[in-house]
Symmetry: C2
Subunit: 366 residues, 2 copies
């Protein structure tokens, strides 16, 4: 079995440290990938610190993975050794249900839902109605590691024109914002609001502008208005009640990337009739809301989860075509705990991306 | 000016009593209607008792009006003297905005929104950005009256096959449930949930079944399960956690007719992927909700307001075609205060409809 080195949390309260483990041998339909870069997602922190109460330890986070194929199973046809590839949030799904057939594996209706790139099945045996685990694995180790082995159909092609480090965050932050923009049919000329301007908000603004939308960023930080302008978007302070009122009934779609529960009532009046406010980051309870506001314009509140495999390939290709890359800052893996602190406390606008050469160096040094 | 007799609330705390007032003379594009029947909507009570804090007194409620044309202006082409006609929740709108052009006058974006059948413009001068009232009327008197004068384009035709008394509730309860069922594209074979089983719920069940849907009623009252069965729907007690769990991810659409704020979290898990929970009755703050539940199935929470004029005609014709009539109980107007008590305290499954002959008798007796 291929040996791998990773960075893992052993407990909710502990810092991430080196871990050695075995990856499975690449089966006929699997590829083994040498990891080059891995993005740091806010979910990594939530999972490592057991914020959702479901973490399986040791926890090796990382689901924005870019690497090179170093081994391809006998039946593999999509990828070959040497290819630059990506792995996002999922490494398997039931492949039987309606959602899987529709290319929406993120909504897999199988007994265990999809197999997450780290932390195992979304519905482990204890949560499954069948009481079993079809994947046979209670835990999975993510991209904070030297290598991983994945079914080829869950492996994406990194198109030419995307640099491998900047491509990493597209695999989660990119597709998580792209998918709802497409599903709610944002089109050229539409007015789109983006609430929250961190890693997801950055991608959301770039993607919506590339789709031809007129984009406004809603932020609580005055400095971010200038940053929005650099991307070609307007910036509005949420606390500026005059500016907010002037925007009433002017938005076709508002995408919220705020990673916590938040009031929707200040934003719903900004939607036009039949407009939608979709929150992709708040895996958390939301406060109460005015249903009257929804009724008076047939408006909706929605949620959306990452994106399917086909759509993840689509957003990678879209970014290559439109010259879109997330703002990133490269770090060695040894700085991961410091990066977590920054993401949690600070108001980090860029995405941290781990250069996995720093981890491989530990093998050399050992 | 035509003299009219009505029943009005003078204060939020007073019982409805007789009022005499002038109706305007029918203009070239207006018809004068002799009122035969008027349904009693829960909104009538909310408005009479100033629950929304915007009531203009005296308040003559009633927006489920069926009557006969007794005078037609010189330019009137759609209706003629003797026609059986209906008037719903609106008697005018700006006729200029996108929503009016789309036949969705209930979402009129004009400075004063639509002119309600009673209580005047939805946005009176004080609420309008222009600070004016384009309708020139601060109050309107509804259907608890002997007659009313309305622009012909806001007057509906009561099709043959509908009895005039039973047609009345279709003008509000009917279109309020029909409109979202159509907008969210409920089709034959769909599974539809109806939450709350009063006047709106009754119509919602009948309409959804006529559209070919498989309908389940969610109720808090055990006795209503048998009543749902009579209409051809399943009935489920919301408190039956086992039954609720068994229905997880089985509904395409859930329509809530509950007339107050209520938790949506027990119902969202019952929706399939991309399903919507739409609440039409709750003109009130809703409690907090789990956004994670929305995310995990790309689900939406929505609202919907009555229906446009074209759609109101559509639902009247649909009911005639499918032999649908609301369950009603006819009362003389002198019993209106007692009926309000019943609707408020009791669990009234049918719709009260006032026979306006009882009011005209007061004129004879006077």
């Amino acid at each position: 079995m291929p040996k791998a080195l990773g960075y893992a949390a052993r407990h909710s309260f502990s810092r991430l440290k080196t871990i050695e483990f075995d990856r499975q041998e690449a089966g006929p339909d699997e590829v083994e990938i040498d990891v080059l870069f891995c993005g740091v997602c806010h979910s990594d922190i939530h999972q490592a610190e057991n914020d959702w109460g479901n973490t399986v330890y040791p926890c090796v986070p990382g689901h924005e993975i870019v690497g090179r194929v170093i081994k391809a199973g006998s039946a593999v046809s999509r990828h070959k050794v040497g290819d630059l590839v990506g792995v996002g949030c999922m490494v398997d799904s039931c492949q039987q249900c309606g959602s899987c057939h529709d290319g929406l594996e993120q909504y897999c209706e199988g007994p265990n839902a999809f197999l997450a790139t780290y932390n195992g099945p979304m519905k482990p045996a204890a949560m499954a109605k069948t009481g079993t685990n079809m994947y046979g694995r209670d835990n999975t180790y993510g991209g904070y590691s030297t290598s991983l082995t994945v079914k080829e159909i869950f492996v994406l092609k990194i198109p030419e024109g995307l640099s491998p480090d900047a491509a990493a965050p597209i695999l989660c932050a990119g597709v998580t914002t792209y998918s709802p923009l497409r599903h709610w049919e944002v089109a050229a000329g539409d007015t789109v609001g983006i609430v929250g301007f961190g890693g997801l908000g950055d991608m959301a603004v770039k993607l919506a502008i590339a789709m031809g939308a007129e984009v406004t960023v809603f932020t609580t930080t005055k400095e971010k208005i200038a940053e929005a302008a650099k991307l070609g978007a307007k910036g509005v302070l949420q606390s500026d009640s005059e500016a907010m009122e002037a925007l009433e009934a002017t938005f076709d779609f508002i995408l919220s990337t705020i990673p916590e529960g938040h009031k929707v009532d200040p934003f719903v009046p900004l939607l036009k009739r039949d407009g939608s406010y979709v929150a992709v980051g708040a895996l958390a309870p939301m406060p109460g809301y005015s249903n009257q506001q929804l009724i008076m314009g047939r408006k909706t509140l929605g949620g959306s989860s990452i994106g399917g495999i086909a759509e993840t390939q689509e957003v990678l290709d879209f970014c290559a075509e439109h010259g879109i890359a997330p703002d990133i800052q490269i770090i060695p893996i040894q700085e991961i705990n410091e990066a977590y602190k920054q993401v949690k406390s600070g108001d980090v606008r860029f995405r941290y991306v781990i250069d996995m050469a720093s981890l491989k160096q530990e093998l050399v040094d050992a």
